[in-house]
Amino acid sequence: MKKNKENKEVVINSQGSLGVLALGAIGIIKWREAMKAEVEAAKTELKSKKSLKTKK
């Protein structure tokens, strides 16, 4: 099977885009991973902010 060369050109972040949806299965998987990662990052940031506050 041919591999999609255009994969690399589509920027996949939590915002998604029509380009991401047009990639089909792989686009959806990566987009959701990006969203999950962003949520995780936000949680970590929140935690670190809280711990800073506590230390103060």
Partner: protein, 885 residues
């Protein structure tokens, strides 16, 4: 194709995709993937079926048969337990789909969200049903799939996360559809915005699951159906450029980009899909119907079930590319959605079922070879991957059985409103199936259905189609009767509406609620749609069929004033001008028709004919070629192309054209006659000439001109006209003593004995012969007949007959009996004539003859095709009309 069968086929369905929307986008470079697909293969329009309702159409695409055979008759069906209605299901499909046939042939098939495909069938592959993408819970809650959504069920876990929830659609994804969303927060709450989000999430879901299956399963056949273009178009085609006056400017600015973005998104998905296939895969991209995007967009949607279908246009798209398919972007014509399954079978080198209604699209094939045929795939045993037989059922029959159980007291009755709903849905489904049957030329059973449901419901739409069915089957009196009934219904409706308006006015004045019947408005009344003034249109067509062109013309012109964009109205007015030999006027109307649809084969054909009759041969040639470009399978276009080429003395190409006529319509004697002439006079070929002559001799012993009608309808006058015009006639000369008696009779005694002895018919060769309608069906088949059917209002005939004799019976009672008997005779005669390939017929109205003798004589002479003395014939009418009245 049998020897070079393809290995893999991918069918992509884009519901409602239309070239008229695609072409400008492609010209601007906005649909590169589709352009590439077209340029590497073939493309063209794909004719839809009537009615253009998607579940029926996609099932016809997948089976090669119409709704009465495949069993999917609309959008909904009753739930077998009688609890209400549900979307149509695969268990109602009565025949094998292409994937069932391929399953039997040991091919692995994947089917994604085909409509209908729930419950998923147990095929040797994966089937994802059309309920897969429907989100039934808010985002975050567990989103269960309805039973039967996926086969095999063990793939549910693997596939469920490819569903995109509408709430997951982000602003970034939406901005290409509605750019103002970026700055306008209120617009984000607009229900049209949320509807676009939902459609986009469905499209993304279908694409995600199909790309996953393409990459992760083995398959020989894959079918992927997208409904999003249809849904984007129903949502926002009204806002698509150019702007129309009645659309609020704000709405236009906000939603004008939805359709374009929808198409471009499909092109992006196509690009990805194409990147996932290998070079052994043949791709077929189709839509089931088109969608009006220009001046033909309706101003409002009919207030009836399936009303939105009024926005559909009759042509979808077809693109084929890959192994087995011609290369180079060639345009192909004459394709219909019903042809897809036979074409797929031929591509795989499998035989086509003789019970399939479509044809193989050989014109798309690189090396076309005659497909093989079998009686029916239904009789071929093997694992077809269909549901178990006990699951397959006719839901309407199940509903009837349920009703019987209620009547017997075994189960409790349904709630009244549900029963009414189911009954209404059943009638509506029967109406769709009847329309589908008319579309397929099965007029008689369609009329039976329409007659029943119209009489039961008095719904105007049903009556309109019934009248149309009678018209198509040449049952003109019946057609007229239904039109009269519809006129009465229309009047009643107007009275009811008036009452309703008055009641509303009174309510306003008094503040009290007035009880009364709510009037269901005629969906086509007052709307600038395809079908306002439909009754006038039908009546116009009826008059045209009865050869009353002068009466039909003002009626159709009235309809045209209200329906400037109706192609059929323009074509019929043009036809009238062609009949009346007013070719310049006809040309104007055909050009008008082409302004409505520049790809109308009928308009190009008619325009060509109007040029040919004026000896404008170059112009005629161009138009016939354009007509054939749009519909290759029309023998008449090839025939007149041949006639034009003959006049241009291009005998070689003329012969080619007539050869095609014979391939398409082997019995068309006129084409054989031309070929005989060519091969005896111009391209001398004694063998071919002998073969043509043999055919003509064998098949046709001669031509007889039959003048028929009811007694006292005016047949003797027509005989007299023909005699005066120089036409040889056959009658019992010795029986006629005086001129008056001759005029009254013109009979030939042996006609009455036709049922027992028809050998004498050779005496009538090339002559006119009077035959009353009751003897017509005894005419022997080895002659050609040109039948002139003389009609006259039955009341006039009876009055005339009554004036000729006195009886003791009540005149009224006698007349009613007579009317019924006379009508019956006419029905039988019309039915018989319509079913005879060796009969051409022309209806001449006695009254029209008297009122418009010049044009009537011209029409009659054109039909007869002989040089007659028109002036003498006209004189004959004026001189003799009194004697026959």
């Amino acid at each position: 194709m049998a020897k070079s069968a393809v290995k893999k086929v991918l069918v992509i369905g884009w519901d409602a995709a239309d070239w008229k929307t695609i072409e400008p986008l492609m010209a601007e470079g906005k649909m590169p993937a589709l352009k590439k697909l077209m340029e590497g293969g073939v493309y063209g329009r794909l004719q839809t079926l009537d009615p253009p309702l998607s579940p029926m159409l996609w099932t016809s695409i997948a089976t090669g048969v119409r709704a009465d055979k495949h069993g999917i008759g609309g959008f909904i069906e009753p739930i077998p337990d009688g609890t209400g209605l549900r979307p149509v299901t695969t268990t109602s499909r009565k025949v094998k789909a292409i994937w069932n046939i391929l399953n039997q042939e040991k091919k692995k098939c994947n089917v994604v969200t085909w409509w209908p495909s729930n419950p998923a069938e147990p095929i040797n592959g994966v089937m994802v049903s059309n309920l897969f993408q429907q989100a039934n819970k808010p985002l975050g809650e567990e989103w269960l799939m309805p039973t039967g959504t996926i086969h095999p069920p063990e793939m549910i876990d693997e596939l469920k996360d490819f569903r995109v929830h509408p709430s997951e659609i982000t602003l970034t994804m939406m901005v290409p559809f509605i750019p103002n969303l970026e700055k306008d927060k209120e617009l984000r709450k607009d229900k049209r915005t949320t509807a676009v989000m939902k459609v986009l999430s469905h499209a993304a879901t279908v694409h995600a699951v199909s790309t996953h299956l393409m990459e992760n399963t083995e398959w020989d056949f894959m079918a992927v159906y997208h409904d999003a273009i249809d849904h984007f178009s129903h949502l926002a085609m009204k806002y698509h450029p150019p702007h129309r006056k009645h659309i609020p400017q704000d709405d236009y600015e906000n939603f004008k980009g939805v359709v374009e973005a929808g198409y471009r998104f499909h092109d992006m998905m196509l690009e990805r899909t194409m990147s996932l296939i290998d070079e052994d895969t043949t791709v077929i991209l189709i839509s089931d119907h088109g969608f009006h995007s220009d001046h033909k967009r309706p101003l409002s949607i009919p207030n009836e079930p399936s009303g939105p279908a009024a926005e559909h246009s009759p042509y979808g798209i077809l693109v084929m590319n890959g192994p087995g398919i011609k290369k180079g972007g060639q345009h192909v014509s004459g394709s219909s959605i019903i042809d897809i399954t036979p074409t797929l079978l031929a591509l795989y080198g499998l035989p086509v079922g003789k019970d399939m209604e479509g044809k193989v699209l050989y014109q798309c094939f690189e090396n076309p070879e005659q497909a093989e045929f079998i009686e029916s795939w239904e009789k071929v045993p093997g694992d077809s991957g269909q549901h178990d037989k006990d699951m397959i059922e006719d839901p309407w029959a199940a509903q009837e059985a349920l009703k019987q159980l209620v009547e017997l007291g075994y189960i409790e009755a349904l709630e009244d409103d549900k029963l009414v709903q189911v009954e209404k849905a059943k009638t509506e489904s029967e109406y769709y199936v009847a329309r589908n049957m008319i579309n397929g030329g099965r007029i008689k059973p369609a009329i039976e259905i329409l007659d029943r449901i119209f009489n039961e419901t008095k719904i105007i739409r049903y009556g309109q189609r019934l009248a149309n069915g009678y018209l198509t089957s040449k049952k003109y009196i019946k057609c007229g009767e239904v039109i009269s009934q519809l006129r009465l219904l229309e009047k009643e409706l107007l009275v009811e509406k008036k009452k309703e308006r008055e009641a509303k006015k009174l309510e306003k004045e008094t503040g009290e609620k007035i009880k009364g019947k709510k009037v269901a408005s005629d969906p086509f009344a007052n709307s600038e749609m395809e079908e306002p003034l439909y009754l006038d249109y039908l009546e116009g067509l009826l008059l045209l069929a009865l050869n009353k062109p002068m009466k039909a013309q003002p009626l159709l012109e009235k309809v045209q004033r209200k329906n400037k964009n109706n192609l059929d109205v323009a074509l019929n007015i043009a036809k009238i001008f062609n009949i009346r030999k007013k070719y310049a006027e006809a040309e104007k109307q055909f050009i008008k028709a082409l302004a409505i649809d520049d790809r109308s084969s009928a308009a190009h054909f008619g325009l060509g004919l109007s040029y040919l009759r004026r000896n404008m041969l170059e112009e005629a040639l161009e138009e016939f070629l354009l007509a054939l470009d749009e519909n290759f399978y029309k023998p008449n276009s090839h025939y007149h192309l041949g006639e034009t080429l003959m006049r241009m003395k291009d005998y070689e190409n003329a012969a080619n054209a007539f050869e095609v006529v014979i391939r398409l319509s082997p019995g068309m004697t006129k084409a054989h006659k031309w070929l005989y002439e060519i091969h005896t006079k111009y391209i001398i070929d004694p063998i071919k000439a002998a073969a043509e002559n043999e055919f003509i001799k064998k098949n046709i012993k001669g031509s007889v001109y039959i003048i028929t009608g009811l007694q006292d309808a005016g047949t003797p006058l027509v005989m007299k006209m023909l005699e005066d015009g120089g036409m040889p006639i056959l009658f019992d000369e010795e029986e006629t003593v005086t001129k008056n008696e001759k005029l009254a009779a013109y009979g030939y005694k042996k006609v009455a004995n036709l049922s027992k002895d028809s050998e004498w018919i050779e005496l009538a060769n090339d002559k006119a012969l009077k035959v009353y309608v009751e003897h017509l069906n005894y005419l022997p088949a080895h002659f050609n007949y040109k039948v002139i059917f003389v009609t006259r209002d039955i009341e006039d005939i009876i009055q005339y007959q009554d004036s000729q004799k006195t009886t003791g019976k009540s005149a009224t009672a006698l007349s009613m009996k007579k009317v019924a008997a006379l009508q019956n005779r006419i029905f039988k005669a019309e039915e018989w004539i319509a079913s005879q390939p060796n009969i051409e017929f022309l209806t001449i109205s006695y009254n029209e003859l008297i009122e418009h003798p010049i044009e009537s004589v011209e029409i009659m002479c054109e039909f007869i095709g002989k040089e007659l003395n028109n002036a003498a014939m006209i004189k004959s009418i004026k001189k003799n009309k009194v004697k026959t009245e």
